[in-house]
C-alpha cells in the first residue's frame, strides 16, 4: 500500500526517513537527558582533518588563496585613530569549484554518500550549498536534487535564488522550486522517502567537518605569509556552519588568540516565513533572520541534531545593514578590482569597521568570498529592491535603516559601523529554549555543564540564568 503523503503523515515519519537518508542513527549520541555527545557526533564522520583535506583536494576544493585588500585597508585607516587599522584580508573561497566555501561542506557529504552506496544526494537549500552539492555530485557521478524556497505567491522569484537554480541545473541537478514556507522540509522529506537518496544536510557532521579545513588554512597561510595568526576572523553568519567549522579549524591549528566574530545583516522585523516579506529582503542569506534563531536554537534544521553550534564558538556577534554590504561590495570591485559577493561581503562590511578597532600591525580576515553573477550582484539586488518599492538613498544606515522599507547606503565610509549584539542575552535565550524543549528548568550538574559548553559560558552563569527563569 502506498504511504500517505499528506503533511502530517510525512512529517510523522521524519525520524525513519532521516535514518535511512543519512546512514547515521542520531539516537546513539543522546544521553536521555539534555546533554548529547557533540564531539561524538563530530567524530562519527570517521575523517581526520588530514583525510578531509585529501577528500577535498581530489575535487579541487580548498587551499584557496588569501587576498590582501590594500586599498580597503588604506581606506579604513583614514577613519581609524593614528596607529590603528588592521590589514584586511579575504580568504578567496570563490576559487572553489562551485564558487563558494560550500564546496568544502559538500565534498565530504557527497563522498560519504558514494562510499555508502547511495545513488543520489539531496539538499534543501536556496543558497550556494545547492550549487556545491550539485557540483560535487557531478564530479563524483551521483544524481542530485536540490529543493529551493524561491518564489512568492505571485510567482515572483528572488533573483539571487533563481541564479542558484540555474547553477544547479548547469551541473546536471534537478531543482524543485517552491513558494515561501517552512513546508519546504515536508517536500524535501517526501522526495527523500521516494528516492532513497542521501540527505547531504548542511548541518550534518560532514557538512561542518568540511569547514574545519578552512579555519586551519587561515591560520597556516597567515603564519606563512605574515608570521602571525590573524587577530580576528570575521564569519558571515546564517545557519552557523561557517562560524562553527572555522573556529574548530582554528583551534586544531592552535590559533587560540584569534578572536572569532560572527557578522549578519540586520533584518530585524522581517518575518522569514512571510509571503509578503519574502521579496522585501534584498539579501537572501547572512542575515539575522537565520543567524539569530540558529545561534539560540541550532536543533531546528533538517537533521535531529545540528553539527553547527555557533554559540559555542563566537566571541562576538555584530550586525551591519543591507546598505553597508551593498556599498562595500561596490568598493571591493572599484578599489580592489575583484567582483565578489554578496554573502562574504557581510563579513567584509563588518571587517571594514572592526579593523579600525585594531592596531595597524594586526590582521583581520574575512573567512569567505563567493562568486558573483546575474541576479546575485549588487546592481540586480538594488534594482530588484527598487522594483519592490524599497526606497534607496544615502544616509546614516545605523539611524535610518528599516528592513523591508528602505536601503540606506552609507553617505561615506565612516558610516559603516558594526553594532554588537548582546551575546549575554543570546546565551540566556539559548538556555531558556533548551529548558523549554527539555520540559524543565530543574536540571542536574551535568546538564548545567552541558549548557555552559553550548553557550560558551560557565556553570555559574547557567545557574544564575536558571534561577532567573524559574
Amino acid at each position: 500500500m502506498a504511504l500517505a503523503k499528506d503533511y502530517a503523515s510525512v512529517m510523522g515519519r521524519n525520524n525513519e526517513i532521516m535514518k535511512e537518508a543519512m546512514g547515521l542513527d542520531y539516537d546513539q549520541f543522546e544521553s536521555g537527558k539534555m546533554r548529547f555527545d557533540y564531539e561524538g557526533l563530530m567524530a562519527s564522520t570517521g575523517y581526520t582533518l588530514e583525510e578531509i583535506e585529501r577528500v577535498q583536494s581530489l575535487t579541487g576544493v580548498g587551499n584557496t588563496p588569501i587576498l590582501e585588500l590594500r586599498n580597503l585597508t588604506a581606506l579604513a585607516r583614514k577613519y581609524a585613530k593614528p596607529g590603528y587599522g588592521a590589514t584586511i584580508l579575504a580568504k578567496d573561497e570563490a576559487a572553489n569549484p562551485s564558487g563558494s566555501f560550500k564546496a568544502r561542506r559538500a565534498a565530504c557529504a557527497v563522498a560519504t554518500a558514494k562510499k555508502m552506496g547511495y545513488k543520489g544526494v539531496m539538499a534543501a537549500t536556496s543558497g550556494n550549498y545547492g550549487a556545491a552539492v550539485a557540483s560535487q555530485a557531478a564530479m563524483q557521478g551521483l544524481k542530485c536534487i536540490i529543493v529551493q524556497e524561491c518564489f512568492d505567491s505571485h510567482g515572483v522569484g528572488q533573483p539571487e535564488i533563481i541564479e542558484k537554480a540555474r547553477k544547479c541545473e548547469a551541473y546536471g541537478a534537478e531543482v524543485v522550486q517552491l513558494t515561501v514556507g517552512p513546508e519546504l522540509f515536508y517536500t524535501f522529506l517526501s522526495i527523500l522517502e521516494d528516492t532513497g537518496y542521501f540527505n547531504a544536510s548542511l548541518y550534518s557532521p560532514y557538512g561542518i567537518a568540511g569547514v574545519e579545513t578552512l579555519g586551519y588554512e587561515i591560520a597556516m597561510q597567515c603564519r606563512e605569509k605574515y608570521g602571525k595568526d590573524p587577530a580576528m576572523v570575521v564569519c558571515t553568519s546564517a545557519g552557523g556552519g561557517m562560524m562553527t567549522g572555522t573556529a574548530r579549524g582554528l583551534m586544531k591549528a592552535g590559533a587560540t588568540n584569534t578572536k572569532c566574530v560572527a557578522a549578519s545583516i540586520d533584518l530585524t522585523g522581517l518575518h522569514m516565513a512571510s509571503d509578503t516579506a519574502f521579496n522585501k529582503k534584498s539579501c537572501t542569506t547572512g542575515h539575522t533572520g537565520f543567524g539569530v534563531p540558529y545561534a539560540v536554537d541550532p536543533d531546528h534544521s533538517d537533521v535531529p541534531r545540528s553539527a553547527a553550534r555557533p554559540l559555542r564558538y563566537m566571541e562576538r556577534y555584530v550586525t551591519v545593514k543591507q546598505g553597508d554590504v551593498m556599498y562595500i561590495t561596490e568598493a571591493l570591485a572599484n578599489l580592489e578590482g575583484i567582483e565578489r559577493g554578496p554573502a562574504g561581503n557581510t563579513a567584509l562590511a563588518a571587517a571594514f569597521s572592526l579593523a579600525q578597532e585594531l592596531p595597524a600591525d594586526e590582521y583581520i580576515i574575512i573567512s569567505e568570498t563567493e562568486y558573483t553573477g546575474a541576479g546575485k550582484h549588487v546592481q540586480p539586488q538594488l534594482a530588484f529592491a527598487r522594483e519592490n518599492g524599497i526606497e534607496i538613498r544615502f544616509g546614516d544606515p545605523n539611524k535610518e535603516d528599516k528592513p523591508g522599507v528602505n536601503i540606506i547606503l552609507p553617505k561615506d565610509p565612516s558610516y559603516i559601523k558594526t553594532i554588537d549584539m548582546d551575546l549575554v542575552h543570546m546565551r540566556k535565550s539559548f538556555i531558556k529554549k533548551a529548558c523549554k524543549k527539555y520540559g524543565s528548568f530543574d536540571i542536574d550538574e551535568d546538564d548545567i555543564a552541558f549548557l555552559a559548553e553550548e553557550t560558551n559560558s560557565t556553570p555559574e552563569f547557567v545557574k544564575k540564568v536558571l534561577e532567573e527563569l524559574k
Binding site: G120, E174, V175, G181, E183, E330, H377, P380, F384, P413
Partner: protein, 99 residues
C-alpha cells in the same frame, strides 16, 4: 502543442492553504504551497494540460504544463545611479588630489 520528449516546466499545488503547517504567518497561511519542476514531457500536450514529466534524476512528476523550452531571464538588473556615486566618492577619498 508540446511534443513528447520536449523539455518543459510544470506547476503543481503541493499543499492547499488549508493543508499547510498550522504555525504560519497570516499572509502565508492564506496561500497554497506551490511547486515548479522541469523535465521531459511524457506525452504530447498543450499548455495548461495536466501532464507527467521525467526529471533530470528520472523521477516522474505531475502537474500543469506552464512552459516549453523554459529559460532564465534573471539579469544584472536595471541601472542604479547610486553605484556611480559610490565609485566617484571612493576614488576621491582614496586617490583624490594626487593627480
Amino acid at each position: 502543442m508540446a511534443k513528447k520528449g520536449d523539455w518543459v516546466r510544470i506547476h503543481r499545488v503541493v499543499l492547499p492553504a488549508e493543508g499547510r503547517n498550522p504555525n504560519l504567518p497570516a499572509d502565508t497561511a492564506k496561500v497554497p504551497l506551490e511547486m515548479w519542476v522541469k523535465g521531459s514531457l511524457c506525452a504530447d500536450a498543450e499548455i495548461g494540460d495536466e501532464v507527467e514529466v521525467e526529471t533530470a534524476t528520472n523521477r516522474i512528476e505531475h502537474g500543469t504544463l506552464v512552459e516549453v523550452n523554459p529559460y532564465y531571464t534573471h539579469s544584472y538588473g536595471k541601472f542604479v545611479p547610486e553605484l556611480i556615486q559610490i565609485d566617484r566618492q571612493l576614488r576621491e577619498i582614496l586617490f583624490g588630489g594626487e593627480e
